[in-house]
Amino acid sequence: MPRLGGERSRRARAQLVALLKVQAKLNLREPYALGPGVGIPVILLVVFGFISKQVPGNVANSGLTVIDLYVPTLMVISFIAIAISLPATLVRDREIGWLRRISTTPVHPSRLLGAQLIVDLVLAAVAVVIIIVGGTVIFGAGLTVSIPFFMLSVALAVVEIFSLGLVVVALVRTQTQASLVGGVLFFALLFLSGLWLQPVLVSQPLRDVMWYSPSGAAVRAILYSVFNSRPPVTTLLTLAGYTLVFAFVAIRYFRWE
């Protein structure tokens, strides 16, 4: 029945557009994702950009400047901040019965989650563009981006870190738990991404702990790809492994009400 199928997909599109509009407006009004996801990286970009200008030259013989090293870290920080906003909004929507209310309509609440993830992907893309353009044009990061590797690394990093956010949504019950777990996770991931100490500056075994952590591996993959190199296979496999585990746990334990 091609007509019916056409009608159905036209309606599904209309429903998705309506959900996207609502989620976008809500994300502007309560900027849990927008504020930290774009705001924090922009502020940090300015901070480390100026530090980089004050302390030019190569950090710990890595051949990279401060801003070079921080470009990947800031991208991952943006992804982390957006991922941590997922529990903040979705756990609330579940707790107040909004998701359950939607499940009484012909639309499954998973579509609302989908719309929110699309909004979050747009925010992540905006942050990436700001960091790349700002980092190179304003603060002189010497990036030589390898487009295919960069796309692969960023895609893996985003999916991995967003999945981790969804694991929190799946496992916590209340908004209080969500903000508690989200807060702890946020700072742990920020540390592991190298915000306070870049992995190149620390000694083993902490360096490996960071490089193989959920956020550190993402930073490492992006770091290689913005300097026109293939990320180490172990890093890509680490990211893929985390993604699989997080996605499995999130899907397995997800609750709509």
Binding site: L19, T104, T105, P106
Partner: protein, 357 residues
């Protein structure tokens, strides 16, 4: 979008009769037995109209708690059907089984011939649900919520007309968190209707509203009836059930204990109340000995007796036989409230009263 709503808005409130035509039918048909012993087969339609919802032998258990035990009834198209019962009686579980939010352990549910489990997405097209505890995201605006829900359905009503007819056009741009309780309930009704639903399930709609907002909500439900929407109304307010509902199912401890019109339930529960002043003191024992007497209350010189049967006559005769005259006699039929209390009190307390005799 269909402007069906304007037929609704055109209705001028009090002009339509409460029980639309069903009185005549009721007059001709002998009243069905109101008290159903558990395990009775599903009651058939009293009016022979198409049934919107049919429930057969529904059972649901939460752990050790038997939430629903062999509940059967059917709801006619266009009817306002009330589900009443004490807290925790199984009212919400019943409507959740109808809307497909819960899967019964056994028994069957049919909504316009469809199964809420197998055909869940088809049913959701025409069943509008208002949930007992459900909020909208705090910053979502009323108009946006309605537009969003309208987009979910294939033949929605025009959100603007829904807003107008529920008199909430003025709060279209207000965020949910800034609404009053009554406004939130109106929005909740609007969301349950905007899909152009044939069946609306309203769960404790007026709980927590002030008397004026409650009356306003009642008027809205009356207007839904006028539009031909079948309404299932879960409530624990007897006045609400008496005012709005064509028929009631009374559920207690997971069992269906009465199923009829509010008037018939009140009448057949047979509660009567007699108040009088005796010419000489009469002790309780004497009064309890009179046939039909269940409860005796005293206040100053007044004696109030509640019970069943022709109480006033039995009392006057019994007291006259002892040479006691009765003055200031006042007798009245019990209302739904009395019936509710009598029917949900259960066998335990009835037995204890017999001990007192």
């Amino acid at each position: 979008m269909r402007p069906l709503w304007d037929t609704l808005s055109a209705v001028t409130g009090p002009s339509f009769p409460k029980h639309r035509g069903s009185f005549a039918t009721r007059g001709q048909t002998p009243l069905r037995s109101v008290l159903l012993s558990a395990g009775n087969p599903s009651p058939t339609s009293p009016r022979g109209e198409q049934s919107a919802v049919t429930i057969k032998n529904l059972a649901k258990r939460y752990g050790d708690l038997l939430a629903l035990d062999d509940v059967s009834f059917s709801i006619q198209e266009g009817e306002i059907f009330g589900i009443i019962g004490p807290n925790g009686a199984g009212k919400t579980t019943t409507v959740e089984c109808i809307s497909g939010l819960r899967v019964p352990d056994s028994g069957s549910v049919s909504v316009y011939g469809l199964s809420p489990q197998r055909d869940r997405y088809r049913i959701r097209e025409f069943v509008g649900v208002q949930l007992q505890e459900s909020a909208l995201p705090p910053r979502l605006r009323v108009g946006e919520a309605l537009e969003l829900f309208a987009s979910f359905y294939s033949r929605p009503l025009d959100p603007q007309e829904v807003l107008q007819s529920l008199s909430i056009k003025n709060i279209e741009r207000t965020a949910f968190r800034n609404l009053s309780g009554g406004q939130k309930q109106r929005v909740s009704i609007a969301l349950a209707l905007v899909g152009n639903s044939k069946l609306a399930i309203l769960d404790e709609l007026t709980t927590g509203l002030d008397p004026e907002a409650r009356r306003g909500t009642w008027a809205l439900i009356e207007r839904m009836r006028e539009r031909g929407v079948t309404v299932i109304l879960v409530t624990h307010f007897m006045d609400e059930a008496e005012t709005l509902c064509d028929r009631l199912a009374l559920i207690n401890q997971g069992r269906l204990i009465a199923l009829d019109t509010p008037e018939a339930i009140a009448a057949e529960a047979g509660v009567n109340r007699v108040r009088f002043v005796p010419s000489k003191p009469v002790d309780d024992k004497t009064l309890y000995a009179v046939q039909g007497v269940e409860v005796v209350d005293r206040k100053e010189r007044y004696v109030t007796v509640t019970g069943t049967g022709d109480l006033a006559a039995s009392l006057i005769n019994a007291l006259a036989a002892m040479g006691v005259q009765v003055s200031e006699l006042e007798a009245r039929h019990g209302n739904l409230d009395d019936a509710f209390i009598r029917l949900t009190r259960g066998t335990a307390s009835t037995a204890s009263e017999k001990v007192r005799v």
